[in-house]
Symmetry: C2
Subunit: 236 residues, 2 copies
């Protein structure tokens, strides 16, 4: 590869572009203008299961451990090679539902409404981990069956944020943001996107397959996350 003699570093290029833009676009050079600390990633969370170690061993045999099939975007989390079948009150089954790792204190099943209608379950929208009083189901593995008394939810739309992300978007843990997805013919604003702040996470919005398909995320041209405003122009 030929090296350019008068090569310009990336930071020099950035500086030049910023200068040019600030001359052409009034407002972009305003003092205190913030730049997003991290790229906004929106991912679809397909139906999946979190297992307790106890249930893992009932389903896959004594001494079983989760095996990593694929790392997830968040560090330390993974899709396991293990899958289970889920059976609901209508005695229909969804086979091959992926287990996510690592194991958790309590088993939890996250489904889209399309799944829950097929199974015959009436699911509440819940933040992951908040599963008291939710419906149960039957989990089937190669070595055993777990009759789950509760733990099946539709996961609330949420966004994983670091403190720096929260500072940039002007929100705090537990707040609800809006996510606007521009998509040809089906642009949508998803409200109620719950902020889950943690110093160790990458900025990532999670929506379920129904939401991802409703907004045709695969063909989306832009996504924007923002705090709800009753009036964008800031007039009282």
């Amino acid at each position: 590869m030929t090296q350019l003699k008068n090569s310009i570093s990336r930071s020099q290029v950035e500086q030049l572009v910023r200068q040019a833009l600030s001359q052409q676009l009034p407002g972009t050079s305003a003092p205190g203008m913030q730049v997003a600390p991290n790229p906004l990633v929106v991912n679809i969370s397909a139906r999946h299961v979190h297992l307790s170690q106890e249930h893992l061993e009932v389903l896959f045999g004594k001494g079983s451990e989760l095996e990593i099939q694929k790392d997830l975007y968040q560090e330390g989390y993974f899709a396991a090679t293990q899958t289970v079948a889920i059976v609901g009150p209508r005695r229909r089954m969804i086979p091959n539902v992926r287990v996510l790792g690592p194991c958790r204190g309590e088993t939890q099943v996250e489904l889209a409404y399309t799944d829950s209608i097929s199974l015959g379950l009436e699911l509440p929208v819940r933040i992951s981990g908040d599963i008291k009083g939710t419906p149960g189901c039957v989990l089937m593995g190669p070595k055993g069956v777990v009759e789950l008394e509760y733990g099946v939810i539709r996961a609330a739309r949420h966004v994983h944020m670091s403190p720096a992300d929260c500072a940039y978007y002007g929100c705090a843990n537990g707040d609800s943001l809006h996510l606007r997805v521009d998509s040809p013919g089906c642009t949508t604003v998803l409200e109620d996107v719950v902020v889950r702040e943690n110093p160790d996470v990458k900025l990532e919005v999670h929506i379920d397959t129904d939401e991802g398909n409703a907004v045709d995320l695969d063909h989306a041209t832009s996504v924007k996350l923002y705090i709800p405003e009753s009036c964008k122009c800031k007039h009282s």
Copy 2:
């Protein structure tokens, strides 16, 4: 049933309630205030097929006619007793897809993205009837098979409106409106709701199952249809 002696007509009741409200709620009695001419109905349009008479006869036999199973909300339209199976490029099948009547000039299949992903079809968002250049599929009936060259779409979100509805909402045929659905934990604004004006229709929004499940329409607490506004407070 006992008839009340001093019975009050519905219009008198309405008049009394309006008077009481206009005294308590400043602004509601403003001159020129419009009342919606029709109730806003939002229905989920599940996957379905429209057949040409020719294709109906290939699939169900020479001389076949559609039989009414259930009338739809729009007068003259119905779910037929007939169903077909749809097969896509992944050679997976969706069985028992309902045929809607009456027959049309061209066969058209309307699927949600969840369906199209399962079948292996990449669907465009289209207004019903606008099917040139769309993917095809195979339709299977009890008496024959149709290899459809094109006609499979994701129907664009749309709203059937009479001229009176258009006048009330301030829109015209072909405009795009926003539909806000308030739902516990998953409130959503569906943009790109295309106005389809016709003197003979009842006011009705059609969304698909992905959209209906994304917003949990079954548990929605309110729906609101409105023209897009960049700034609600009307400041410049």
